[in-house]
């Protein structure tokens, strides 16, 4: 597969490490009510759709960017590639 890195352009998937569901960005607030349950779901429960899937890919043999790759698990078509940091910031993650 070829991943169109937002900074570096098209790169071979062999340069990346893949960690699956991009939902891992949404780490729960440890101080919120029900945090224990939320962390349990965060750590163990993932969607595994046949079709469009947002995934975390790490450019380990490159610039060490974590990317959010929107990919069809059926056709391997890649619809979108974003910097994970931008996605996280847009979700309001910060300190």
């Amino acid at each position: 597969m070829i991943i169109n890195h937002p900074l570096l352009g098209p790169r071979d998937a062999a340069e990346f490490y893949v960690m699956g569901d991009a939902d891992l960005i949404n780490r729960p607030d440890p101080d919120a009510e029900g945090a224990a349950e939320a962390f349990y779901e965060y750590a163990y429960l993932r969607d595994n759709p046949a079709g469009e899937h947002r995934e975390l890919w790490y450019h380990e043999q490159g610039d060490r960017s974590w990317l959010v790759v929107t990919r069809s698990t059926l056709t391997h078509e890649i619809m979108n590639v974003e910097m994970a940091r931008d996605v996280a910031l847009a979700k309001g993650r910060g300190q």
Binding site: M1, I2, D12, A13, Y17, M19, L24, I25, R27, P30, D31, A35, A36, F39, Y40, Y42, A43, Y44, L56, Y58, E60, R64, S65, W66, T75, H76, E77, I78, M83, A84, R85, V87, A88, L89, R93, G94, Q95
Partner: protein, 978 residues
């Protein structure tokens, strides 16, 4: 042997005669021959024995689709089994031997299996050798394996080398037949970067095998001119002897280029290159493959595909028989008769299954319309055939054409399905092609020449225009030969009718498998093995489906095809491995003191991606234990030096560096003072321990973290994830500096005395206490970092210098340490000392252990949020009766301990329900004078002084052990604070 079947014409170079041997028989051929064409030229029809029944077999085709003619090529270590004679180019001195027979090829002792064939139908082995069960492994399987099968491996190391390469292009054109050449010319003339690949050594495809003309030239001459024009274009790369074997995601293609298979030896060059080709677009112009007709006893040497018979005559100047008969269901089959007649080969008969007007009159040939072949004779080679109506015809070569199947394989590698076209009686590529792939020519069902040329040019022009090149399609003049077909699959009659020659699958097997309930084609394939092995059913799949469809009463499109998967044709394992074999299997790194260690008796061990010294043999030391014991004693007695560069080092800087460390470590780091080091415990989010190490605060916003050697990469990745995805607002930056700094542990009572001779600062206990760190210089100005940390439990320092000074530093340390008898130590002594001190390492940090298991539960801060804290609070991870890391010593101190042994209470049976834990690490402690161990034990923290059984069921053996503190030497830590 003379070339009795060599006739005039063809593209071989008769001025260059080549000698070769087949089963030690000397023969000759010409440059341009394949082994198959040369064997046929020499009248050698019998070339092998079949897979299951050991039936005599001959050459069936003239290309990579060959199911029968597989031979051992070359001798000794370079011997390669299962080489298709039809694609092996002849060279001077080539040695080939036939496969799969016991005794000679002509009198194969295993051919008795053929007599048993009524019993050996589909599923025979599954049904017969079921019991007694224990007979399978010892008796049945070895016997079956010895009788069935293909060629034999040399059982020696492959003497050749293989390479891998990467190519990029605008357009990859797969197959250099008429459509491929036109596609390449069109795109190449327009300026696109083109790669044209073909498995043959000669560009042109069927143009080299037919008597069709293009632009009023012979087809082969036009192809040669086209290839020459392409070769002169700087934007075109021609790749002959290259099989594009797989279509992968996003326009990536796999290709195998055979560099030296056509010459006697590789001469040190890579034998084959595995290419990964990145394309913007690809045009598949892979042509079509002829298929057979299933009629009784259709497997004899001399029964061949009609198009291939024509290839041997037209391209190689070889007549596969003296008196050839043709059996066809289509117009193309007639071309074999007319071409051969024109070349002076006698035609015995043309038998056409269709009730139509004969297409040609061939002098001397019997023309039978609406007829079929119902039997054959000739055990080691065809002698005669008989038609359904009982006409017997003497012939030594029967050319069969069941129609042509487009090579749709690559169009299906992304799970695409081909569609059936009734008008040509064949599957053509379906609509769902791999992204960026287009198809043209015979491979797209355009079987006739002019259509194929035109389609190649048109598709290419359209693709090139899409890519922004100004391309125009121009066509050479050519005619469309007639290719009409009325599908006809199979002749009923007495005797076996083969579908798949390579796997000995007959019509009966397919019908039986259907009768036994294997309705899906995928099941049919696996039950009968139809379409498996090296040819992947190129000549048999469609025929098998048609007969399956007939048996089920369904249509062929309803029956469907099995899934096509890469590779299209066999790829040697050696090519897939490339250079990654032996010591080059994966790269390894050398420590800065590697050369020094090599010259000082070191034995090396792989540690993560590194080679590390595991001990240094000295003088008359006989075994490794002698060296390791001495190194431990010397370190604990005076001073030892160990290269610890391999530990991961991560440089952490930024205003939020401390806050960030507080997030990734389970214990607190925010309040660590500048100039201090702290032990850190890193957890995964699920509360399991991930790694440990020390982190030094060099300045307010500058930390140096160390990780374990094995986890350097994963920890860095984890921290980048935390930095970019979890806390993207923090001002913190990470750099891996593992390779940047050479680092040495200097440990033992004389460590300070030694280092103070080198380090340009006061390192007294007052000025530089335990867990201090500093940026300093050594030897009067070389930059260095000094840490007062201890893995050995001794008074110890770790000194780091830029990696380029590492070798010099090792020498300097040894020089300065001479007066203290400083001793280099390796990973084994390091391990002994950490076990003596109860420090966890890889054996304990297994990815299944919690902080509580390690006895480090109190380190997990409850006051702050950090990765893993929340889930480590779960009740199951805080059980009072959980496993705890403790130390062990044998009750009888003369006994050695064994890692992996399980603990059981005295008087209890060694069974799972009584299992109390296991021994993780053991060592001999020279200081204590006996074996010691670390291990996880249920309620271990409450069982000090208890005596248990340590049972090693795997290797046998049992030792009584006493539970002790994991801190077996200097438990109060007085030495390291000295």
């Amino acid at each position: 042997m003379t070339q009795s079947n060599r006739i005039a014409g063809g593209l071989v170079d008769r001025s260059k005669q080549l000698s070769f041997t087949f089963n030690n028989k000397s023969m000759t051929g010409y440059e341009g021959d394949t082994l198959a064409s040369a064997l046929l030229a020499n009248g050698q029809r019998l070339v092998g024995r079949s897979f299951k029944y050991h039936r005599p077999r001959g050459i069936f085709s003239a290309g990579s689709e060959e199911p029968n003619a597989m031979v051992h090529l070359r001798r000794g270590a370079a011997q390669e089994p299962n080489t298709r004679a039809t694609v092996a180019e002849l060279f001077n001195g080539l040695e080939a031997t036939s496969q799969n027979h016991r005794g000679s090829l002509e009198f194969d002792l295993m051919s008795v299996t053929d007599l048993a064939s009524p019993f050996l139908s589909a599923g025979f082995y599954y049904k017969t050798f079921m019991w007694p069960k224990k007979f399978w492994e010892k008796l049945y399987e070895p016997a079956i394996r010895a009788s069935a099968g293909l060629g034999r491996l040399s059982m020696q190391e492959d003497p050749d080398s293989y390479d891998k390469g990467f190519l990029h292009c605008d357009m990859l054109i797969i197959g250099a037949g008429p459509a491929g050449l036109m596609a390449a010319l069109t795109a190449g003339r327009a300026g696109a970067r083109v790669i044209l690949a073909d498995e043959d050594h000669l560009m042109g495809g069927r143009l080299n095998a037919e008597t069709l003309s293009v632009d009023d030239q012979e087809g082969s001459a036009w192809a040669a001119a086209a290839a020459a024009e392409l070769d002169a274009m700087p934007n075109v790369r021609l790749m002959t002897r290259t099989s594009v074997y797989g279509a992968y995601d996003h326009g990536v293609y796999g290709a195998l280029e055979r560099m030296t298979d056509h010459v006697p030896t590789s001469g040190g060059k890579p034998r084959q290159v595995l290419w990964r080709i990145y394309t913007k677009r690809a045009i598949l112009t892979a042509g079509a493959t002829e298929r057979s007709i299933a009629f009784p006893m259709n497997d004899r040497p001399g029964v061949m595909l009609a198009g291939s018979v024509r290839t041997y005559v037209n391209r190689y100047g070889v007549a596969p028989g003296k008196k050839v008969a043709v059996f066809t269901n289509n117009d193309d089959g007639w071309r074999t008769a007319t071409d051969l007649h024109a070349a002076g080969v006698s035609i015995a008969a043309v038998i056409d299954s269709r009730e139509i007007t004969p297409l040609a009159a061939i002098p001397g040939a019997l023309i039978l319309m609406g007829a079929s072949v119902a039997s054959t004779s000739g055990y080691l080679g065809l002698k005669s055939i008989a038609t359904s109506s009982g006409v017997k015809i003497e012939t030594d070569c029967l050319a069969v054409s069941g129609g042509w199947s487009p090579n749709v394989h690559l169009t299906c590698h992304q799970r695409g399905r081909p569609t059936w076209r009734d008008d040509i009686g064949a599957f053509v590529p379906g609509g769902d092609l791999p992204i960026g792939m287009h198809v043209a020519g015979a491979g797209n069902g355009s079987l006739a020449l002019a259509s194929s040329l035109k389609e190649g040019a048109n598709v290419s022009a359209s693709v090139a225009s899409d890519l922004g090149f100004a391309a125009t399609a121009a066509f050479p003049s050519a005619e469309d030969q007639s290719t009409d077909i009325t599908p006809f699959w199979h002749v009923e009659g007495k005797g076996r009718a083969w579908i798949d020659l390579q796997n000995d699958v007959t019509v009966k097997d397919v019908k039986q498998s259907q009768a036994e309930g294997f309705r899906s084609v995928e099941h049919l394939k696996r039950y009968t093995t139809l379409g498996m092995a090296t040819d992947q059913g190129k000549t048999s799949n469609v025929l098998g489906l048609a007969i399956m469809a007939e048996a089920t009463g369904k249509s062929i499109p309803e029956t469907g095809t099995t899934i096509f998967r890469p590779p299209y044709s066999p790829v040697p394992i050696g090519a897939l491995a490339g250079r990654a074999r032996g010591k080059d299997f994966r790269p390894f790194r050398l420590t800065p003191s590697h050369k020094w260690a090599e010259t000082h008796g070191a034995d090396f061990v792989e540690a993560g991606a590194w080679l590390r010294a595991q001990w240094f043999r000295k003088g008359s030391e006989k075994g490794w234990r002698d060296s390791v014991d001495r190194e431990v004693e010397a370190t604990r007695g005076s001073v030892g030096i160990c290269d610890v560069t391999t530990l991961g080092k991560i440089d952490i800087q930024g205003r939020d560096a401390a806050a960030f460390l507080n997030k990734v470590y389970a214990n607190g780091f925010a309040k660590l003072a500048v100039g201090k080091v702290r032990y850190g415990l890193m957890m995964r989010e699920d509360g399991i321990v991930m790694d440990d190490g020390t982190t030094a605060r060099l300045r307010e916003n500058h930390f140096i973290m160390t990780t374990t050697t094995a986890n350097a990469g994963p920890v860095f990745r984890h921290m980048e994830f935390a930095r970019q995805c979890l806390w993207p607002g923090m001002d913190v930056h990470l750099i891996s500096t593992t390779d940047g700094w050479a680092q040495f542990a200097v440990a033992g009572p004389n460590a300070r005395n030694l280092l103070s001779k080198i380090v340009d600062m006061d390192i007294s206990n007052e000025a530089f206490p335990f867990m201090a760190c500093a940026e300093t210089t050594v030897c009067g100005g070389t930059p260095a970092r000094l840490f007062r940390i201890s893995f050995s439990g001794e008074l110890a320092f770790e000194i780091a210098v830029p990696a380029r000074y590492g070798d010099a530093m090792m020498t300097k340390l040894m020089e300065a340490g001479e007066e203290f008898d400083a001793t280099p130590y390796g990973t084994e002594a390091l391990g002994v000392m950490r076990i003596e001190k109860g420090h966890a390492a890889g054996n304990e940090l297994t990815g299944q252990t919690t902080a509580n298991n390690l006895g480090l539960g109190k380190m997990v801060s409850k006051k702050k949020d950090s990765i893993g804290n929340k889930l480590s609070e779960r009740p199951e991870m805080n059980r009072e009766d959980d496993l705890r890391l403790v130390g062990f010593k044998p009750v009888d101190t003369s006994k050695p301990l064994a890692a992996g042994a399980h603990f059981v209470d005295n008087g209890k049976e060694a069974v799972t329900k009584n299992d109390l834990g296991w021994m993780t690490s053991v060592a001999y402690s020279p200081e204590l004078g006996h074996s010691i161990g670390l291990g996880f034990l249920k309620k271990g923290d409450q069982r000090k002084g208890d005596k248990l059984r340590a049972v090693d069921l795997l290797r046998g053996g049992e030792v009584k052990v006493e539970v002790v503190s994991p801190h077996m030497i200097d438990p109060e830590g007085e030495r390291l604070r000295a």
